[in-house]
Symmetry: C4
Subunit: 215 residues, 4 copies
């Protein structure tokens, strides 16, 4: 039994649940869970896998720079650098990146503003916001094709041990102190996005000045 | 075997079914089933659990005030007081509270009116309404962050052994004489809400005077 | 082993599949499969059951008038008379009645016209329509609360061994020569309805002169 | 064990996954996987089956012309000719044809233009498009009822070992070098279509000059 058996199983469990929701369309998405803190090490999904399948090659152990710590033919997900930044820059224990239709549409609708804010919504309690006038804001960053540039623009938003950042027309990255918290925030985001899109469709239309698609 | 084994299994079965529909996003939702009537006792979901997991710590037995009746490290759901009011104020056997996108959007669209009414819909027969001109109304209350205040504003709507109340931008609480009836009403509400939102999106747009989100 | 074991298993299999799609919300829906032709007998779902559960009490054998043919405490579904009309008036082998959000919304949008017609759609081949200019029409009838009256208004549309009729703000009844064909038509209807609603939401809004809901 | 056991199992696995998403409504859809290259042979779904069931009669082996290579009572899917063209005209290893609501609506909305183009979308990386200004285009062809005519109009779009073509108000055909790649492209298409329809519903309405349905 590997020393990171417990973390492996926790991440495998999260992966299975997100796969059940079909949140890895087109082999998209990548997940990471912290194993060590000094030095930083973490398990991350291997690149190019069908995440609806569950195998012994789903994850690999990497160091703070996202380099494999064990001999393996697996390559870490291309976007491992974002998880690295999270584990290096906070005490987060788990980081999840998924593409959903709702998070992509929200990222495009509010991409120019660079942020979406929710208030008067019970589910913001997932962020430990209990006051009636509390709000939460999720930043939206440009989807740089060059991963180090993307990671650089992501870095300033790692301010706490939990958080969420939308990447425009790409997906969301959510992290938390534990796998449980990261998943809770991810679900809360998805719920709020679906809620907002449904409400918007019934009340008004929003014009897009600069869109990812020709409308 | 505990004396409330049958009630536990009935509630676990309902929880499994609602979890299959993904109605507990972000660890939201809480469920309760009556065990005793004089004095009142009931099983209620423990706080802070992932309701897609099914364990021996899912529920705990509480009294009429929502206090644990057995030694346990579990805490009852924060909103247990609403279930207490239902079991104290009616003969209901089961009470279910869930957040769905549809029930949240309906609660916001009709929040200012404080009520939504359905008629000419086959599914209102779930409320034992069989006449062609019958209707059912679901009240919508403000989502007070202070639970005792929320419970106070909920109380006047507990008029029968079955019923449903929407809490604005929060979710729905539905109760019935049995677990079977509570679930039937919950499903009927969800169907009617989804129906109404779909029809509304095709026929008109409704303006929101005071919304939970900036539109 | 009962003489209708094969029919029971076929209907149970269809029920399981429709339950997996959650097409029995609020204990709605009822299903029937022919057992005999002279005299007519068929299995029909028992009233008041949760159709997501699968038990030995799911169906009961009834005669051409919908009366139980074996000693039982089960009561046939309230709408058994519609299935009776189908088995008496055609050679159909299976009849399925389900409520979905899409079929309810279509029934309301086109209720005043009393019909919805599809053409230029690959899926109308489910009705054995292979020509490029073929079309299929699905009648929409008023939802009389009095079942014999509802059945009377349904009767004129039983012209073939397969068919489909929408009941306004209630659901659809589909029948076919076999369980396989009835299910195929039911799925084709649902696909066409969802397609039509999605397209409609993107292209125009339709005004409702007399609606089941206050808009 | 048949010589094509591995290909059979790979295709069965894909079929199971697509069936889980309910992408075979009304017995629609057909799938094929290459077995040999010189001469061409492939497994293709048998006609008239419920693709949610998984049996030993799901597929049959056919030659380059789509004729059965083994004695069988099964008939290949009516649209086998399209798969033949793909395996004869490229090195593709797998070809998938499915109907979804989203791909049908897209095919109608952009049917007159004959193409839909996506850019600024992370998921176009499924086509190995990594540059920030890359785009992918999916042609849309007329749904000829006469299959050889349909296959003729499909043929010019088989330019690479992977690709996707929409057939108007019918469905999509996607192929790739492997089953893995074909499925990845199919999922990416579905995601992009659902994204586009959701965004469109929130921002503008598109008029249809010549539609498959009366609007």
């Amino acid at each position: 039994m590997k020393s990171y058996q417990a973390e492996w199983e926790e991440l495998a469990d999260i992966k299975r649940e997100l796969a059940d929701r079909d949140w890895f369309m087109g082999t998209s998405g990548n997940l990471a869970i912290r194993v060590g803190s000094s030095p930083v090490s973490f398990l991350v999904t291997a690149s190019g896998k069908d995440k609806r399948k569950h195998t012994k090659e789903d994850f690999l152990l990497v160091n703070a720079q996202g380099e494999a710590l064990e001999e393996t033919q697996l390559r870490p997900s291309a976007e491992t650098l974002l998880h690295s930044h999270i584990f290096n820059g906070s005490s987060a224990g788990c980081s999840l990146h998924v593409h959903t239709v709702a998070n992509n549409v929200i990222s495009e609708l509010y991409g120019d503003e660079g942020v979406i804010t929710f208030r008067n919504q019970e589910l913001i309690k997932a962020w430990d916001k209990w006051d009636e006038h509390d709000s939460i804001s999720i930043p939206i960053i440009h989807n740089h094709a060059h991963i180090p540039t993307l990671a650089d623009s992501f870095l300033p938003y790692i301010k706490e041990d939990k958080g969420a950042v939308l990447i425009r027309n790409h997906g969301i990255t959510v992290w938390g102190r534990t796998g449980f918290e990261a998943k809770k925030l991810l679900e809360a985001c998805e719920f709020l996005f679906q809620y907002h899109l449904t409400l918007l469709s019934l009340t008004t239309t929003k014009s897009i000045s600069k869109g990812g698609v020709k409308l």
